[in-house]
Every structure is written in C-alpha cells, then in structure tokens.
Amino acid sequence: METLEIRRTAAGRAPGTKGHAITGVVASGNLEVLLERVLSDTQCEVTVKTSVEGFGDVWRAVIDDFVERHSPGGLRISINDGGARPDTVSLRLAQGVRLMEVDG
C-alpha cells in the first residue's frame, strides 16, 4: 500500500454547487473516487491510496493533466485505487468533476 498526497493550483472553481460526489468501485483494475467541495476556489488536493507501489510519477502526470483539462478548483479528492490503468483514472476523475456539476 502506498499513499500519495498531491496539491495543485487550478485555474478556477469546479463548476456546479454539489458538496460531494463518489464514482467508481474499489476492484481490481478499477478505483473509487470521492470528491468534496471543501477548499478555496483555486486549491485542489488529491490523496491516492494505491495497492500498486512505485508509480508516483505516473500519478502526478495524470493529476497534472486532469487539473489542466478540468480545472477542479475547490475540490479535495480521495482515491482508493485497486491497480487501475492511467486511462481509467483519468476517466473516473473526469466523471467525478461532471458529477459535482450535475443535479441529483
């Protein structure tokens, strides 16, 4: 088990008003993402708990790309990873930001 803390500055506040959202499942090759709107408008913090060690560089690259493309300001994001590939991580993060935006 490895835990990574990644802090980034986003260009702006994540769209929508929802306080929190959760997507994905903890399963082999998958991951669970919890998003909470608890930080100031440009802050973004990501905590990754992963079962696969030694991929810190890839995680940071995935998060950098996510912050650049989706501008998730104000969000604290907690990830429980079951060994997902980077494409799955990117997709779940993008889905998470959209869930914070939509109603219901």
Partner: protein
C-alpha cells in the same frame, strides 16, 4: 521434342497410386496416411486447408503421422497455421519450408521452431497476397481441404464456412494438382454444391467433424468504460464526420463497443441510415442489436461464426445465403471487398510507433497478419468516388482540388496501455528486433504508418491526414499516447497548437460527456442480451454461456 504435358502425366501416376486405397474417389479414414504417402512426393507444395474457422484437422493429423523417410521437405503454403499437427509436420521433418498468413494460437510455437531452425520461412503474407501467389509462384501440387458434406462424385458442401476452399481448389485443380477432401459426412446428395465434384480427386469421411473455433465473439460483459469512451469518439469524430457507410471492423472489444453503441449513442446523434450500412465483416454477434434496429443493409462475410447459423438463415436480406438457406462466405472475395469497396477500416493493434507503423509480432510470438493489412491499406487501384473517400483525400493534400485522389480511412483504435500496463505506444516496434534476430529482409509490419489516417485512444483522436510534416505526425501521435513514456515526452506547446487546428480532438472538443462513457450505453451488456436481441436465433457456444 519438348514435353508439354508433364504435369498431367505426373498427376495421372499420383492418382493411380492413390486409387490403390480408394473405391472410386472415396477412401476410408484408417487409410488416410497410406493414401497421402502414395499421392504426395517429397518437396511438394502442400496446402493443408487451415482457414480462420474451418480446419482440415483429420488430414493434418494423418499427414503428421506419415513416414518421414518417404515424405520430407514439403513446402507448406496455407493461410492459417493454427493446429499443433501443423507444427508437428516441421518437428518431424516432413515439412521444412513455410509460407503462411496467420498463426494465432500457434504464434509462440512458430517463433520457437524458427529459432530452432526447423522452419525455413518464406514470408508472412496477408490473405489475398498468399492467394494471389497460389496463381503465380506458390501453386500447390496438393490441396488437403475440409467440407461439411460430400457425395461419392466429390461434390462438396462447405456449409457457412466456405472461406478459402474455392480459392485453394481453383489454384490446385486447374494446374494439374491433386485435391483431397475430408468431410464430416458422406451423403447421397449435398444440400448445395459449393465445389463441383470434378475438381475433387479423393474424399474421406473424417472420424470426427472438423474443428471450428468461435473467433469473432466478444462478450459485451467484458467491455470497459474506457472502450466505450473510445467508441463514442470513433462514432462521433469519424463515422459521423465522414459519413462512413461502407466499412470493415477488426475484431476486438473496442470495435465490439462501437457495434453495441450504434443503436444507442449513434441513434441519439441521428446517424441511423447515414453510417455503417454496408459491411465486409464476419458475422459478429455484437452487431445483432444494430441489425435488429434496422441500421444494417447488407454484410458480406469472410467466414461464419459459431452459433450464428440460425440467425443468418433468418436474415437473408442482410447476409449472402445459398439455395439451402445457409451463409455463403468467401475469404478471397470478402478481402477484395474490404480493400476496394470499403471506405473505412478500424482495428486495434499491439504496438504502434512514432510514424504510426503497427505490429503484433514480438520476438516471442508471431501471430501473422491475416487480413488486416488488406483492409487497413489504401487501395491505389481504386477509381470510384464516395464522399468519405474524397473528404479524406482532400484533407491529406493541399494539391489542386480538381486533381485530388481519395483516401481510405484507416483507423487504429487502441488503449494507451495494454494488458499488465504494457504501453501500446513505443519508440521502436518489437518486430524490428525480431527481424534483426531472424535476419529478415523485411520487418513484419501489420499496417504501415503512411496508410494510417486516424489514431483513436481514450485521450482523443489524432487525424494524421491533417499533418503536414513528419514532426507534426510524431507530435500528433504523442498527443494521444496518454501517460505512456511516448505520450509524456510530447512537446506540450506543439500538441496544443495541433489541437487548435483540429488535428487532435479531445472528448471535450467533441462535446462527449465522460458521464455517458458507461456500460449502460451498450445496447447489449451480456451474451444473454445478444440472444434476446436475436429472438433466440443466436445460439452461443458453451464457453460463452454463464446462465
């Protein structure tokens, strides 16, 4: 006096030797090896029918059981080398030379036999390329083929898997060769004549029906959200954009996802009747929902698929069927259709390099080519226009619009990482190392980069037609290579500029909502759903039944 009939005289003497074991054309299964030893001569070119689906397995096993002092140095010229008996021919020294197309499950065994020097490799071909050589410089002296049933005159019924049989028989019989057929059943009358009896020299009823494998069935339950996202990109960013009506799909979960998204996502885009109407395709079970929803006008098939026979029989407006009602497939014609009459090929690969060359060959495994290079290449002999073909041609050049030739759309659909986090994007294809080790003159390449028009990954679409320099192509490829080391080494500024020109399009550039990239978007989420869509006509083989 020159002798002009040597081959016919030779043929007569072989037939005479074989007739010692036969009653007319028919011989008993127990005499198969003896008959083969009598008819075949050392050094012969032999085609042991090994198609994608249908295998002359009884004849293969009998040939592998031949006396190596009588039969040796055979030159095997066949499209599929997929049975262990095929490899036994080489380990036992009965065969020494090989020209083939596809090896699939025997890919690793062929690699080992090559390194051990047991196989002299001629070339790895594409299907129609090997068929073409059957008529020029690789004409078989002996063809050992398979059919569902046959009569005592040699008339054969191939059933839905006609595949390569007509081509093999044409080349062998009309050049004074010998054709021997194994049939599942010897009958008084065959349901339809796929091969006329005067082209067949000997027939044997095999002890067990020939082996057929379900190669084109992909269980919808295995399709991932990432593959659904890629399928959405392909449909919206390519099928809709170019108005693709005539197409071929390679086999894989990505293309299965596209097939299952046509009646849902495709429908919501208003594309029904405008795209994906005419196909060169095996009977993919995952296309059933699109067919049942009225998307598909017609499909010509290379071969059949296990479990699809009753469904095809009930849909003759869609499929090509014979007087007996069952599918008539033909690999040579369907490959030609894919090459000349389709505007798009989309398929996946194991590895792709910075020039978009792709390969599935590694030093450990040589699965061969099959048909993808024919589908996945621009046909320079094509002379008929279509909107899709012309649009692609216009994008590829700044030449005068009055003199633009079209382009086939050749799309590589691949996830940036394959199984076990192995990157699909590489600096150098593993097949380059294989060619070095084997001292091959030609590096095995599945699809050459200059034929590839688009690469679709979960990161977006790279349109290589719009690239004007080698550097732009490289950055466009890196730009969709995600978090592989190739992707992370991208020039970010250049990639952004390519994106502003529409060379790279991200899901958000196409208004694709990642929340939709979800299994609920699949028209069928399991094999059982496919059975329901087919009204119970699709009968999946046991290994796909989990209910």
């Amino acid at each position: 006096m020159p002798e002009w009939r040597r081959q016919q005289i030779e043929r007569e003497s072989r037939l005479e030797a074989g007739r010692r074991f036969s009653d007319g054309k028919v011989f008993a299964a127990k005499d198969t090896t003896a008959l083969l030893e009598a008819v075949i001569r050392p050094g012969d070119r032999v085609c042991l029918e090994g198609d994608n689906q249908k295998q002359a397995d009884h004849l293969a096993t009998a040939l592998a059981g031949a006396d190596g002092s009588r039969l040796h140095d055979l030159h095997i010229v066949q499209s599929g080398l997929v049975l262990s008996a095929h490899l036994d021919l080489f380990t036992k020294g009965i065969a020494s030379k090989l020209d083939f197309s596809y090896s699939g499950p025997q890919g690793a065994a062929i690699a080992r036999a090559l390194y051990a020097g047991r196989i002299q490799l001629g070339a790895i071909h594409t299907y129609i390329e090997l068929f073409a050589r059957y008529f020029v410089d690789l004409t078989p002296q002996i063809a050992l083929i398979a059919a569902v049933s046959g009569d005592r005159e040699g008339n054969l019924y191939t059933g839905p898997n006609t595949e390569d049989t007509p081509t093999i028989v044409e080349a062998t019989h009309f050049k004074s060769g010998i054709v021997i057929a194994q049939v599942n059943k010897l009958a008084d009358r065959v349901p339809r004549v796929d091969i006329p009896g005067d082209r067949i020299d000997f027939v044997v009823e095999a002890p067990t029906p020939f082996y057929v494998e379900p190669l084109f069935t992909r269980d919808p339950a295995q399709i991932t959200d990432t593959q659904i996202l890629m399928a959405m990109l392909a449909i919206k960013g390519i099928y809709a954009e170019y108005g693709i009506q005539r197409l071929n799909h390679g086999i894989g979960y990505g293309t299965a996802a596209i097939e299952l998204l046509l009646p849902t996502f495709g429908e919501s885009l208003g594309l029904k009747g405008k795209v994906a109407t005419h196909w060169a395709l095996n009977p993919h079970p995952t296309l059933i929902p699109a067919i049942e929803s009225g998307w598909v006008k017609q499909i010509h098939c290379f071969g059949s698929e296990v479990g699809m026979d009753d469904y095809i029989r009930a849909r003759p407006d869609v499929y090509f069927t014979g007087a007996d009602g069952s599918l008539r497939s033909n690999r040579a014609f369907c490959q030609t259709a894919g090459l000349y009459a389709c505007d798009l090929f989309i398929g996946s690969t194991l590895q792709i390099d910075l020039a978009a060359n792709s390969s599935t060959v590694t030093p450990e495994r040589i699965p061969g080519f099959g048909g993808a290079p024919n589908m996945g290449s621009d046909a320079h002999g094509r002379r008929h226009p279509s909107n899709a073909w012309l649009k692609a041609g216009r994008e590829a050049t700044e030449a005068h619009p009055g003199m633009v030739r079209g382009r086939k759309l050749v799309v590589q659909l691949l996830e940036t990482f394959g199984d076990k986090m192995v990157p699909a994007f590489v600096e150098e294809l593993a097949s380059v190392e294989f060619a070095r080790r084997m001292k091959l003159e030609l590096v095995p390449v599945m699809i050459y980069g200059d034929d590839v028009t688009h690469i679709v990954t979960e990161e977006g679409i790279a349109n290589l037609l719009l690239c004007r320099t080698a550097e732009e192509r490289e950055q466009a490829i890196r730009g969709v290579a995600g978090f592989t080391s190739v992707g992370r080494a991208r020039d970010r500024k250049m990639v952004e500029s390519l994106r502003s020109r529409g060379v790279i399009r991200r899901p958000e550039d196409l208004d694709i909502d990642p929340l939709d990239a979800n299994r609920h978007l699949l028209a069928a989420r399991s094999i059982k759903d496919l059975v329901k869509w087919s009204g119970g006509l699709y009968r999946p083989p046991g290994k796909f039944r989990n209910w």
